[in-house]
């Protein structure tokens, strides 16, 4: 019994669980261990190689972990991701030359989703950028972080300092009970006048101390739920993970559920839904090109992207809802009658909806919600309907909104 030949290449037939999330780290190097490695093993995590590291793909099971996160709170170790600090005079302009975000208009303590673009408007990576007042804090994908660092070093002026926080870990606490759990941890704002952690709004960030240990916390995540991402020193991460999991509302969650949660939330995964061949407009990420940048341009690939923003892209990322139980996976072809109109870039079984879902790119003529399409899976034509993303509504915490 081996993973099917279609879809994503699998590097190790014993790793039956994770072909979708194994990224293109094809070098046959020994995986590195992250600060929580022993913690995951002690917690019963099944460890697989991912982005060059040993990472937990699941503990008790993907469906149980997925549903736990949707109803309570899940703790994810995402320490494989790259945490970068960009500082120095002119950092705003230097970063705006590489990203389409309006950073000049980003207030300290706020973060934005952004894209590292190449000169053709292709996506080199997607990332979060936080203004921390005297510097910018970037969180980039684990599988692409070394390429990102090389790209940034090459293109940032010498006056700009790029600091890789390679001894920091990153935890995500996600789910409807995340805020109450984090609030009960007794965090102290690092600076006078900063709000309590459960008063942060979605896409806000601040610095805190937990028992004297510094934490950088943002209200953000990759599940569609309310939640937080916590940058923590490597030497403190195990104690913090223990303290969070001591709350009965919290369980550790593996990469498998992280992938199914983000798929339901309609959030793209770099290396699968996004690549250098993908531009932000066809990817449905036009919101990451802020208003001022649309009028001024001045970001890589603006000559390609601005006309696409004005005229629309010929191909679009869409959500696809399947009937039955057979899942369509990455690489499956999408048809409108006999015409090939696109392909699937992410797909799997949705534990929340209880049927298979997928994302893919189709010709714009077929991208309207309600369009009936077919997906070829192992020679069978599965009925699929284009649906609006996300599949499961986001439940981000908006200040002032009823709780």
């Amino acid at each position: 019994m081996y993973p099917c030949a279609e879809g994503v290449p699998v590097t190790d037939p014993d790793i039956l669980l994770s072909p979708n999330i194994l990224q293109d780290d094809e070098d046959a190097q020994v995986p590195l261990t992250l600060p929580l490695d022993a913690w995951h093993r002690a917690a019963g995590g099944r460890m697989v190689e991912f982005a060059g590291y040993w990472m937990p793909v699941q503990y008790e099971g993907i469906i149980a972990e997925h549903l736990w996160t949707r109803t309570s709170a899940g703790l994810f170790d995402v320490s494989h991701m790259g945490q970068l600090e960009v500082s120095g005079e002119g950092a705003v302009a230097a970063l705006e030359a590489l990203l389409p975000a309006d950073l000049a208009g980003l207030q300290p303590g706020r973060l934005r989703y952004s894209l590292l673009l190449d000169e053709n408007g292709g996506i080199l990576d997607d990332l979060m950028v936080t203004s921390r007042g005297d510097h910018y804090f970037l969180v980039v994908n684990g599988a692409t972080k070394w390429d990102d660092i090389a790209h940034l070093r090459e293109h940032l002026p010498d006056a700009i300092t790029l600091n890789h926080l390679d001894e920091h870990g990153l935890l995500a606490l996600q789910g409807p009970k995340a805020a109450a759990v984090l609030d009960a941890m007794g965090l102290e704002p690092a600076f006078a006048g900063m709000v309590a952690v459960d008063e942060l709004g979605f896409m806000q960030a601040a610095a805190y101390f937990w028992q004297g240990r510094p934490l950088g916390i943002s209200r953000s995540g990759y599940t569609g739920e309310d939640g937080f991402e916590i940058s923590v020193r490597g030497e403190d991460i195990a104690a913090l993970a223990d303290a969070l999991c001591a709350a009965p509302e919290v369980k550790p969650i593996g990469l498998g559920a992280r992938d199914s949660l983000r798929l339901e939330a309609g959030l793209p995964l770099y290396g699968h839904d996004l690549s250098p061949e993908t531009d932000p407009v066809k990817a449905g990420l036009s919101f990451a090109i802020n208003k001022r940048r649309r009028s001024e341009g001045g970001f890589p690939g603006d000559g390609v992207i601005l006309p696409l923003l004005a005229d629309g892209a010929p191909v679009q990322r869409v959500g696809l809802a399947l009937t039955g139980r057979m899942a369509a996976r990455e690489g499956s072809k999408i048809y409108a009658a006999d015409q090939l109109v696109g392909h699937v870039t992410s797909g799997g079984f949705s534990p929340s909806i209880n049927h298979p879902i997928a994302m893919g790119y189709v010709a714009t003529a077929q991208a309207e919600p309600g369009t009936a399409l077919e997906i070829d899976v192992r020679g069978k034509r599965l009925a699929a309907q284009v649906v609006a993303l996300p599949f499961v509504p986001h439940r981000y915490f908006r200040k002032g909104a009823p709780r």
């Binding site: 019994m1 081996y2 993973p3 099917c4 279609e6 879809g7 699998v10 014993d14 039956l16 669980l17 994770s18 072909p19 979708n20 999330i21 793909v57 699941q58 099971g61 993907i62 469906i63 149980a64 997925h66 498998g256 992938d259 199914s260 039955g324 139980r325 057979m326 899942a327 996976r329 799997g348 079984f349 534990p351 298979p356 192992r378």
Partner: protein
């Protein structure tokens, strides 16, 4: 009755010239939550090692290979509504299909239960 195993983690239980095929407990634990099983058509003929079924987990689809050549006589219809039987009861209720063996001699290349247990202990 005797049970044999493949290196690819299928089992086959032999009764006369009919074998019942499933995947091992080790295999289901590696795959995680199984959400769908694509079963072969009754009457379909396979050579030893052919892919005859697919088990879909949340993460991945995996081929199930035929341990010995033969033609399918029956499939486990319970899996249509309860694919999770492969997780909860892989050795009995989660069987996949039955096959009429073309050549009992092919069993000689398979492992018995003790050998299979030693094999997975090394994985």
């Amino acid at each position: 009755m005797s049970r044999y195993f493949t290196k690819e983690h299928e089992w086959i239980e032999i009764e006369g010239d009919v074998g019942t095929v499933g995947i091992s407990d080790y295999a289901q634990s590696q795959l995680g939550d199984i959400t769908f099983v694509e079963l072969p058509a009754v009457g379909a003929a396979f050579k030893q090692g052919d892919a005859a079924a697919v088990v879909d987990s949340v993460k991945a689809a995996s081929d199930v290979y035929v341990p010995v050549a033969g033609s399918v006589t029956e499939t486990n219809e319970a899996l249509e509504d309860q694919p999770e039987l492969v997780n909860t009861d892989p050795d009995t209720g989660g069987w996949l299909f039955r096959i009429k063996l073309a050549d009992l001699g092919e069993l000689s290349v398979l492992m018995d239960e003790a050998t299979y247990k030693a094999y997975i202990a090394e994985l």
